[in-house]
């Protein structure tokens, strides 16, 4: 069972605030512990902006031991895009965050998400009128949610 979270119109001044907001949506939904936003920010600090995996979209996450309580996926749509410092895929207006309690539990969910992204999920999320529809579009993409 995958926990779904959605947040719309989030004001972020930079990538740090954007990443923290995306991770906090999972904390709010009960899928991740309090330390998860810090850990997600650290991942980008340590490994660079590679989490921006396609134009305008970042995949926010940390490791299971950083506070993954359940498999959770969240979408956060920013009020205004931010720069991550990615050579090709900046600026970012859409963040997908996930968490997982162990290194394997999320694989099915993420595979489904990858398929949906190939099938135009990012456009559907950008076109969603509001938070409810954002959550709905994400839920459709993850079969066991």
């Amino acid at each position: 069972m995958t926990v779904i979270a959605a947040d719309d119109g989030v004001a972020a001044r930079d990538w740090r605030e954007a990443v923290r907001a995306a991770a906090s949506a999972l904390v709010g939904a009960g899928a991740a512990g309090e330390g998860y936003p810090d850990a997600c920010e650290r991942v980008v600090e340590e490994n660079g902006p590679y989490i921006v995996l396609t134009k305008g979209l970042a995949l926010v996450h940390a490791r299971p031991e950083d506070g993954g309580l359940a498999v959770g996926v969240g979408v956060t749509r920013l009020a205004a895009p931010v720069e991550f410092g990615h050579p090709d895929n900046d600026p970012v207006d859409l963040l997908l965050a996930f968490c997982t309690p162990d290194p394997d539990a999320h694989v099915g969910t993420l595979a489904a998400l990858a398929r949906s992204l190939s099938g135009g999920l990012a456009d559907r999320l950008r076109g969603a009128p509001g938070r409810e529809e954002l959550a709905g579009a994400l839920k459709e993409a993850v079969p066991d949610a």
Partner: protein, 100 residues
């Protein structure tokens, strides 16, 4: 000369469980489209150093660190771009003689 076994492909990212998993899916689709028999695994860039795949795929910030790991190292910016990846794979695998 032609490869007489399954192609070993490694998708890398910083942590090895999110972006690289997305990339693995994209790579499987791209290799499937080319008709290449391949096994694709995903991992983090540090663990990748201990492996000896035929092909490594990742973003430039990571492939730069492991440029000598495999005969074919492919840099890709868009982890969802199957067609772009298939085109790069076709060219590089053909160079190696692994594709006719």
């Amino acid at each position: 000369m032609a490869l007489d076994r399954r192609l070993e492909v490694l998708a890398v990212c910083g942590v090895g469980m999110g972006s690289s998993l997305m990339l693995k899916m994209t790579a499987e689709d791209a290799l499937g489209a080319l008709g290449v028999d391949a096994r694709v695994e995903n991992t983090d860039v540090s663990s990748a150093r201990g492996m000896s795949p035929d092909v490594v795929i990742g973003q430039g910030m990571h492939t730069g660190e492991i440029a000598d790991l495999a005969p074919v190292v492919i840099t890709i910016s868009d982890f969802l771009d199957k067609d772009g990846l298939a085109a790069q794979l076709r060219e590089r695998l053909t160079e190696q003689g692994w594709l006719p």
